[in-house]
């Protein structure tokens, strides 16, 4: 297990390098000089300032040196300066990362509470009226674009009933910034994500459970005289959860940047939101940092998925 994790971690390094090169080259290929997006055209004596900035930012050096410099600075924690927001990128991105992780975690909890149990309930009584109607609800929920669900939730819960905030990742008042406050603000976006994903997860869970319920070893368990509840809990459930748990790992990483639209709608200052804003303002340093962080999150998510997989499935663990 230990070597397994180490091997996976080492295996991530070339991928990380490839990601950094891709991000660097993409930004480099962006039309327009990076400097031009940095400086305010109202400043007098623009040319001198431009030259100075080019010098300071090493933009006259060969490309690979620029890349190495950028990477080295990034590793050291110097992620550059946001020219649109006028703050160091770290100040912008790190809180956003925190917010996004809270959102992702909460969303996953909701999925665990809503989607997975629903799928399990469906699988317990497949082809029953309950199962069929749940399947229809799922496919509808799955077909409504998730931002429409989100808008509906904002309208209902934030504007009409005013029970949850519709905007921002933290509130005001004495408790602002506390854990509870964070969760309170993450509630609606997380719930929106969860509603849309739950449809997927319950379909997935149901399918996985039904698949396991057809397996030989389930039949063996029944032949041993175990009551249906035990058969389900101990045999079907345990095996059926393996792909779900793995998917969970993937999603934890994916949510880091995957909820762009929702973060935008909820003005939730997460990674997606910051990236979106930076994209609108062509704030290259921020885009580079967020893209890289998000890619790393996804990589780590995959790692988590693999580890979870190895943990629940002895066939992998004893490899």
């Amino acid at each position: 297990m230990g070597t397994y994790i180490i091997r996976r971690l080492l295996g991530m390094i070339p991928m990380l390098l490839a990601i950094t090169i891709f991000i660097f080259l993409m930004m480099h290929a962006a039309p327009g000089n990076a400097i031009e997006s940095m400086i305010n055209p109202k400043i007098q004596d623009i040319q001198a300032l431009k030259q100075q900035l080019i010098q300071e930012n090493g933009l006259n050096k060969p490309l690979y040196i620029q890349y190495v410099d950028w990477l080295w600075n990034f590793i050291r924690g110097d992620w550059g300066y946001s020219f649109a927001q006028h703050v160091p990128v770290t100040q912008l991105v790190l809180p956003a990362l925190g917010n996004t992780l809270i959102l992702a975690a909460l969303a996953e909890v909701f999925i665990l509470i809503i989607g997975v149990p629903l799928g399990i309930m469906q699988a317990r009584k497949p082809y029953s009226t309950f199962d069929n109607s749940a399947s229809i609800v799922n496919i509808i929920l799955f077909s409504v674009p998730y931002f429409i669900i989100a808008i509906f939730l904002i309208y209902l819960l934030a504007i009409k009933l005013n029970v949850f905030p519709s905007q921002n990742a933290i509130g005001s008042g004495p408790n602002a910034g506390s854990v509870l406050d964070h969760l309170y603000h993450a509630f609606l976006p997380a719930f929106s994500i969860a509603l849309a994903s739950s449809a997927v997860y319950s379909r997935y869970t149901r399918g996985s459970m039904l698949d396991i319920a057809r397996r030989d070893f389930t039949r063996t368990a029944r032949a041993k005289g175990l009551p249906e509840s035990v058969v389900f809990r101990k045999h079907v459930f345990r095996n059926g959860m393996i792909p779900i748990i793995t998917q969970f790992g993937f999603d934890i990483g994916g949510l880091a940047g995957g909820a762009v639209i929702l973060e935008g709608l909820f003005a939730y200052q997460g990674m997606g939101y910051v990236t979106l804003q930076a994209a609108q303002q062509r704030d290259y340093n921020v885009i580079m940092a967020t893209s890289l962080i998000i890619a790393v999150c996804v990589l780590l998510g995959n790692l988590i998925a693999d580890i979870l997989y190895a943990m629940v499935d002895p066939r992998i663990r004893y490899d």
Partner: protein, 321 residues
């Protein structure tokens, strides 16, 4: 010039095992470890052995769908061991294969005609109406109705499908057919139909077979000579009656005694081997069979016995002889 159709010399196939931090190759599965035999024109060589002993791998190397690690395969006087591309394509028409699973060996999305015509078309030996005629003829040859040719495999039973598979193998008039467990998946009543068909075809077209199976009775029925494999090695090769009546290798003896026979008359004295077949990834030193051999000697643990001709035409790899 030899008069053999096929000569296999010291054939080996090692599959690398990758493990550890950097997924380096830490060892090899010695699936086939130095196998030699010959097949004469019109002869059937049966290969028996337990699961995982390397029968299929041998068959696939002969069919050149898998590269060998070492050794030589000479077919019809031509060394095909390293043949590639066009040369391989040309020679391939002369040896064909029949597969185990009658359900998996026919493309479910193709009609029977397309299945059988495929070798004809890709080798451009026939075209247009010729193809249809040839397919119809082949279907008749294997005992199916020619007007079945527009039907799809899913409409046929296992035995019928196996006949289609045989028709496909016959399409190019091959000299040799490798049949890998060709009847194992069939029910007994169907199995005999297919076996009879294969025997008939062999006579009709003067075919050579390499008949791979784990069923000793079936191999005895169809083969002229039989080879017994154990853990990647050929432990005994002999004309069949000699092998079945006077087996030399302890493994063959055990195998024959373990095989249940559909008769109640005399209860034979059975030799029940202890333990499992060792893993080909980590085969025992010396004789591969020494871990389970009831007559193991000290030399067996050290030295690997060579396949030697003990009696005329009867080869065995055992220190006892």
């Amino acid at each position: 010039m030899s008069e053999n159709l096929l000569e296999v010399t010291n054939l080996k196939k090692y599959f690398p095992i990758n493990a550890g931090l950097m997924k380096r190759t830490v060892g090899h599965v010695k699936a086939v470890d130095g196998v030699s035999f010959t097949v004469a024109p019109g002869e059937t060589l049966g290969i028996v052995g337990e699961s995982g002993c390397g029968k299929s791998t041998t068959g696939r190397m002969i069919m050149r769908v898998m590269d060998s690690t070492e050794g030589r395969i000479i077919f019809d006087g031509q060394d095909i061991t390293k043949l590639k591309g066009r040369g391989l394509r040309n020679i391939r028409t002369k040896f064909q294969m029949v597969f185990q699973d009658p359900y998996a060996s026919l493309n479910p999305k193709m009609t029977i005609r397309e299945v059988i015509a495929e070798p004809l078309l890709v080798n451009q030996v026939a075209s247009g109406k010729q193809v249809v005629d040839r397919v119809a003829h082949l279907l008749e040859t294997v005992g199916l109705r020619p007007d079945d040719m527009l039907r799809y495999p899913h409409e046929f039973s296992g035995g019928q499908r196996q006949r289609v598979g045989i028709a496909r193998a016959l399409a190019l008039n091959p000299k040799m057919i490798v049949a890998d467990e060709a009847v194992s998946a069939l029910d007994v009543s169907i199995q005999s139909q297919v076996l009879n068909l294969m025997v008939d075809l062999k006579k009709e077209f003067n075919l050579s077979y390499i008949f791979i199976s784990h069923n000793l009775a079936v191999v005895r029925h169809i083969s002229d000579r039989v080879g017994v494999m154990y853990l990647g090695q050929m432990v005994e090769v002999s004309p069949k009656s000699d092998l079945y009546e006077n087996p030399l290798h302890p493994y063959t003896i055990a195998l024959l005694s373990a095989a249940p026979e559909a008769k109640r008359k005399e209860k034979r004295e059975r030799i029940i081997l202890q333990g499992d077949v060792p893993s080909p990834a980590n085969p025992p030193k010396g004789c591969p069979f020494h871990t389970r051999c009831p007559r193991v000697m000290d030399v067996c643990r050290i030295q690997r016995p060579e396949l030697r001709e003990i009696r005329p035409g009867h080869f065995a790899a055992c220190h006892l002889h």
